[in-house]
Assembly symmetry: none
Homo-oligomer: 202 residues x 4
DNA sequence: GATGAATGAGGTTTCATTCAT
DNA sequence: CATGAATGAAACCTCATTCAT
């Protein structure tokens, strides 16, 4: 019997634990070896499962597992960032909080984010969905700053894409160079974002 | 006898043409459907070949084909950019030329660059190689500008990564939204890069 | 402790009820979707059970469940037909009663019989057993009629096969066209059987 | 590269031979062990192939193989029967030719027909298609006989179903008892059909 | 040079069955 | 009695690669 159609609330503790375990193993495999090599067999081995059947038992199919990874990681990520952003009031401060919250989360969840980056690169539909969500949120922040006169005049969507790109870019570096030190990059990124946006709209 | 191990110089005209044809077809398939779905079968079909055997006949193996795509595209890309950069003298102008040359090439070779982006996302070793080359070149440009006092003080490698990321990021957007208009993005990108670097080192 | 190996007499009421429930669900699934798609998972779902484990708990294995379905349906079927046949005395009347009793049961138990038909089509050993029983019974009826001089001379086993085939054939039609109207078919079948057998042995 | 989309005409001799070989092996396996047990692995073994991959190479998928079997067998069957039927003129003679042609073909192609019977039992859509074609053809024959006054009044579709059922029924017997002697059955079947239809419409 | 045929490894998924609780 | 979790075999299918012609 499958757990396929069960909604998150009705999952037993055992099931939640197993799902989490599988998701973690998948994250590890994807982050370490790349999405292309993340077969059920490797994931099962990494998770210490006796067969790939257990994965299909807990997830409807491959896409379901992948979606679960993305959902879980991005929900945590977005939550972390939103909390930090919402602690600030002025747009410039909020934007700076956004950048530093991003970097913090990257530091503590490198593998998870690299895994999601890899997934989105290998799955266009997932990429489209996530990218839109990210960029929309950033754009809102920027437009807000412009309305309040804190930010200069610029094309908000383009700048949103640029900022998001700089965050993603460092993940790509990390996927190849896991020990890359983020200190300098964070400093420069915050500076760049400030320089890019500051200046009142004339 | 196989053509596999022959070095570029030894290739006959026919062979060069076939290789180019296969590379073009592969680019198209990867750009349109993603790296994951770019099987030899699809590439052969797109190229109008009757058998995947021909691909293995002209390329030692899959990796060889992929490397050829990347080599070809990146060589042309780098050549185009270098030419435009070298036409300028002052670091700031060279950097601006770099950005606009990048965008121009993206406009005219969208599919090729999206394909390479997809490939690098799916193959860590390729990614590492390309990224290093790109960032090194950019870093040189930035260091030069700082030495000549045109650029402010910043961590050159970090800013190089940031600039390269903004270029890559727009390719990800294009991979999902092929008709995205680059005009505004190019404008903002040039502005951002100028704002990010300008100011003499004190 | 398992209920698997218990003989029918030893079964508790609860257990009998569960078995019946599972058998009914299996009949439904097989009749609706075909034997090939009648997995334990589908049967459990149809029966409103939470696990396929319950099926294996009550039945030794798949074959046991299938056998139970066939046994139950065919016992009821045979009982119904025998009762109707035994109400008549003359062979011709008994044979006619046999045909009309068959059709009546088909009308009231279409799904059950379609399920059994599907099962026998998918399991040679089951088919052999049932077919032999059916044909033997019919053959007895025919031989009796010949002995009493009511039926013409014919090869009884062949005619038995033919009559049984016409009964099975309509089930195949019903498996594809559940709403097929049996009225005309019953009329023709009774006529055919009468025409096929009537005439004294010279 | 696959031969998937090739139409029958453009198949090479080698390919035609391989396809025929695989079809024959599949027929044998299905006739001997039943449709349910006819996995690619068994078919490949029976055909002496080194891997199941070769089956997928020559047939788009399982359904394609199954369809090919059915097509091939039923085309030959229908051709044989039609030829024999068309050699006669009067409806009664045509119907008798139909029956005896059916039996002849069953004798020479037992395995093929048993295989098709098994396939249709395991695949509702295929069953529906074939049954409709068979019954339609028979019904035409019967209606023709009624129009010309050679046949008595009866419901043509029902009698068509009955006749076809008697033909199918003997195949089921053969699937379990391959050495069953058809002589008596053929005799009785021809008699039954004659008795069932003869007599002018009043 | 080119091709179609063949191969076998490896992918996801389905499934009946077992077992601890 | 019943359940959910786990297992591993087997299914179909895709694929890169090899090879005879």
């Amino acid at each position: 019997m499958r757990a396929k159609n069960s909604s998150p609330e009705q999952r037993s503790l055992t099931e939640q634990a197993r799902r989490a375990q599988i998701v973690e193993a998948a994250v590890e495999v994807i982050a370490d070896e790349g999405y292309a090599k993340a077969s059920f067999a490797r994931i099962a081995t990494k998770a210490g499962l006796s067969s790939t059947g257990l994965i299909t038992y807990h997830f409807a199919n491959r896409q379901d597992l992948i979606d679960s990874i993305v959902d879980e990681v991005m929900t945590a990520f977005a939550g972390h960032v939103r909390e930090r952003v919402d602690a600030e009031f002025a747009p410039a401060a909020r934007l700076d909080a956004f950048v530093s919250a991003n970097l913090d989360f990257i530091r503590t969840h490198r593998k998870h984010l690299v895994a999601v980056l890899d997934i989105t690169a290998g799955s266009r539909t997932t990429l489209a969905k996530i990218m839109k969500a990210d960029i929309d949120a950033l754009e809102d922040l920027l437009v807000q700053g412009q309305r309040q006169g804190e930010f200069r005049a610029f094309h908000p969507r383009s700048v949103a894409i640029a900022i998001r790109s700089m965050r993603d870019g460092i993940l790509r570096v990390l996927s190849v160079e896991p020990d890359f030190d983020l200190t300098s990059y964070e400093h420069e990124l915050r500076t760049l974002v400030r320089l890019a946006t500051s200046g009142e709209i004339p």
